[in-house]
Symmetry: C2
């Protein structure tokens, strides 16, 4: 096993799935699920994602790994509460969609006694909770680890082995580079989906009644929990605003070409976009 005993704080879609996948692969001896919602904890235990559960952070002292799989804006607060109970050498990791500010906060709270490894498994869906968890959620996904100059090399390798062991391809990136990339590949995509769903909803029943597959695909992630995405948008504000501005400029380029009837410019833009789309498929 990679870790004798681990605590997963927050056994929702990501935390629950990680527990289930790690147990199935025999990577962790015992997993304690920690959370505040009794029903969700019970569901995680019932599904075999964790061995036991508790709502008491103080009860998880003797672990050699803590994974904070809580909403991004709660991560630092939970770490601060946990910190006095951790034994030296326990690895602290997370699963958040934003890394810069969070990794910096975790290092401030946990170093030097407890090594910190920032992690972002790029998986999941618009669903949430242990009920939506799956032990195969990370198979063929990408997990980005975000080491800093202060990251312990051995801890980094152990966390990398954990994610590889549950089926993910592990990439390493600087936290700021991760946040910039995710602003485009995920946070912007969600912002657009929310704005598009609202736009179509406001346009009235006659419009809503004609929704087809392209609109449903384009707005699928707008079914996600608002609190979760409010936090992510806040936590990655600067990079998200830059991505929104770049996208808006491209959409207005297209608008301008349509408005002035410039078919050559419009077709050039659509063809460039089509080639870019092919590269996104190639990235699988």
């Amino acid at each position: 096993v990679l870790f004798e005993r681990a605590a997963i704080v927050g056994v929702g879609l990501i935390g629950g799935s990680l527990g289930g996948a790690a147990k199935r692969a025999g990577l962790i001896g015992e997993i304690v699920g920690v959370g505040r919602g009794a029903a969700n904890l019970a569901e995680a235990r019932r599904r075999g994602f964790v061995d036991r559960t508790t709502s008491d952070l103080a009860a998880i002292g003797a672990v050699d790994l803590v994974v904070l799989a809580v909403p991004v804006l709660s991560t630092a607060a939970v770490a601060r509460e946990l910190r006095p109970h951790l034994r030296p050498g326990a690895v602290v990791s997370d699963a958040g969609s934003v890394k810069g500010a969070i990794v910096a906060a975790l290092e401030e709270i946990c170093l030097p006694e407890c090594p910190v490894v920032g992690a972002h498994p790029i998986a999941g869906s618009e669903q949430s909770g242990a009920a939506a968890g799956r032990a195969d959620l990370f198979v063929d996904s990408v997990c980005v680890l975000t080491p800093t100059p202060r990251t312990d090399a051995a801890a980094l390798e152990r966390v990398a082995a954990l994610w590889r062991g549950v089926g993910a391809r592990v990439e390493r990136m600087d936290p700021a580079a991760h946040d910039r990339a995710l602003a485009y590949t995920s946070h912007l995509v969600h912002a657009i989906a929310f704005a598009l769903a609202k736009t179509v909803g406001d346009a009235g029943d006659e419009v809503v009644g004609l929704a087809g597959p392209s609109l449903r695909d384009a707005t699928r992630v707008a079914a996600s929990r608002g609190e979760l995405w409010r936090d992510i948008f806040d936590a990655n504000r600067a990079a998200l605003l830059a991505a929104v501005d770049t996208f808006t400029a491209r959409l207005l380029d297209l608008r301008a070409a349509v408005a002035r009837g410039d078919d050559a410019a419009l077709l050039a833009l659509l063809d460039t976009a089509r080639r870019a789309r092919e590269r996104l498929e190639g990235g699988r």
Copy 2:
């Protein structure tokens, strides 16, 4: 049978699938596939979507239905070329994504001898050509018919029966109302997908490499043929521009809430969007 002999001009994804579906359901006695691309015509015949094919519009005189399944901006020109060869009473219909200008042009060209019924089957994908056709493409889809004060009631009912016969739910709408609705549910969605694919492509390989399912879903239709969408955008210019402007305003509302850290306004916007998204699913 509903029609003894029909010509489908343009046996691509939509025209080919309509032929295959109508033949399977026994709705049309004989179907002539008309087009310019020999390979695509051969593919449509090979797959049994049509009984015979020709590239000569003059060869299709004795039909009682013509379906123009060609790019929207070609529809009027093809109708003008066809018109001298049609016998009185032959029903002229189409399958275009834009209706206002096209139905007006068809009525101008064909009435009063040949009744005109505007139709838009909302189906298809980012693929094209007879090779992508499927006889079940319209099952559980919506087909919008767009009658005008000049529409012949009997012809309208026969075309409605054809689309119902291939599995579609038939809705009737004013052409302008159709174009406004489709500007939101489809044309805006494609404009966003093209702009988003280009934005992410321009952001560099590090960003492209982290593309996940949400980005791939959101940009799926950006793999569509540029020529097709250039024409649709042009043909529905005014309604598309209005939809782009409304969407841009909503995205900038979201941007402003993030920029000023207004968590209450942001959450309210996300929650409204989530409820709107639920209505889109309900429309199935």
